[in-house]
Amino acid sequence: MENDSTVKKGAVIFLIAIILCGHAFAQRAVEVSLRFSRQETAVRVVFESDEDTIRNASVTANPASVRLEFPSRVDLKIQSDFPFELIRKDKVVVMNLRDVTDVRAYRLTAPARIVVDMKTVAQAPKEPRKPEQKPLQQQTGQTAQKPQEPSAARPAEQPQAGEKGKKVKTVMIDAGHGGYDSGIISADAKEKDVNLSLAKDLYNALAKKGYSVLMTRKVDQPSSLTERINFSGSKNHEVFISIHASSSERFAVYTATGDEQGADAVKLFSTASRQNRHLAKSRNLARVLADALRADFGAEIVQRELPLPILSNMNATAVMIDYPSVRAYAADVKLREKFVNAVVKGIAGHEQ
């Protein structure tokens, strides 16, 4: 009898041990240490772990975020004062970056590690606050006339201050393409030129209405997606509008792809968290703009979601508008005016 009881006790202990071991096995997380070093315009982040984990990890890096997918769940040991936001989900670690202009990731051995080198923008000393600028109309004394066209000489980041007493909204306009990147070419017309022309007209029309306006480019110059994203990230603005041409004969209004249907690893990366909190407003602006364009042009407008980096990385209400024909818009001033008026109406109708 005593023998039976001992066996039973032993069996229960053995079972508990097996269950605990199984649980520990299932939950086993690989330890990954995360450390960083910083110089004036560079940050180095190092993920160190065992060789298998590092070899089988996949890394996707861009100046907005770095995403690492490890072969198994990881237990991150993070150096204190880590400078970037970290999002962890099972095997995936995403670093949301700030003020990064270039990023490189590579694997090294002995010890096995993934090194992410980032170039950051130098922190400029804060300028003393300037007195409020007068509206452009008052500066020129030509209140009834068309506002002065934004010149290349004036820095693109100088916003136009709004009228006194009016709730000022800052709008950033992005003229797509530029420099060696012509975009769509139709006969002699280049998309980059038409985009810039429309952007300048929109700038003037919005400034006239009292908006503060910023532009990502004011001349025909190359400007990479990363540069545009970084420039936009460094300025405060409530609305971002990117202007491009469509390949089809229809207007299209794009918003970033949302990830509200389950933030799995891929979606976690595809929509940067910056745009996530503005998606509802971005969709509302897209709807209002589409309605305004339809009302003025009587045409069918396509609304679509695309994981466009210029929208996904935007910390503001952000849409991209594609107008239908580069050739027609290059040649027809009235068509451009009609487009600009519809966009201004759309922005005015959009409630922040």
């Binding site: 069996a11 996949s58 491009h244 390949s247 089809s248 299209a252 609304q303």
Partner: protein, 198 residues
């Protein structure tokens, strides 16, 4: 209960736990990360295929979507050579007069695979120079490259496009090309919404 019975029960429980652990391990470690790949030779054709011919499923951008077309090419034993064939077929375009954003005269300069199973596709500069399209067209071309390779080449985790051996910022100015394609094109396109109501 005799000790023999207890030991038998114990053994049975250990077996059940081992089976559950095995099932867990199989499902979580060996479940394919991507959707099931359609490997060369799994085409839907019913006619017998000569031994040296493979069928590839190529994803062509046509209008505002990807259209899958089956292409037959000489079988390649090496996966990187098969990937080159897939890309060559892709850049021939869908044919049949279908309008497509696939840039013309793009040459496949090479395909390489690294230890992390990332496929590097080196293409000629015509990819950038001859692309004429909007954001949707660019998305579909990149997605077509990615899906065509993932569907036909085994054990590929991601695809990276190089132009003349170098990373470039973008093909058409709307999407990053400096980074592997999975993070760029893996969002499922939702149907477009047309605004035409009065």
């Amino acid at each position: 209960m005799s000790s023999k019975k207890v030991l038998l029960t114990l053994a049975a429980l250990v077996l059940v736990i081992a089976a559950m652990a095995g099932g867990y391990y199989f499902l979580h470690r060996y479940r394919p990360l991507e959707k099931p790949a359609v490997t060369a030779g799994q085409g839907q054709s019913t006619s017998p295929e000569p031994e040296d011919i493979s069928s590839f499923r190529i994803y062509y951008p046509v209008d505002s979507r990807l259209q899958v077309i089956e292409r037959r090419v000489h079988r390649k034993s090496k996966q990187t050579a098969a990937a080159e064939s897939v890309m060559e077929e892709f850049f021939k375009g869908p044919g049949g007069g279908a309008p497509s954003a696939v840039p013309q005269n793009v040459k496949v300069l090479g395909v390489y695979r690294d230890a992390a199973q990332i496929l590097y596709v080196d293409l000629s500069d015509e990819l950038r120079r001859n692309f004429q399209g909007d954001a949707l067209a660019e998305y579909l071309v990149l997605q077509g490259i990615f899906e065509s390779l993932m569907a036909n080449i085994q054990e590929v985790r991601d695809v990276k496009v190089l132009v003349e051996g170098k990373e470039i910022e973008s093909m058409g100015g709307h999407f990053h090309l400096k980074f592997p394609l999975k993070g760029v094109v893996s969002s499922e396109l939702k149907a477009e919404e047309k605004v035409s109501r009065e």
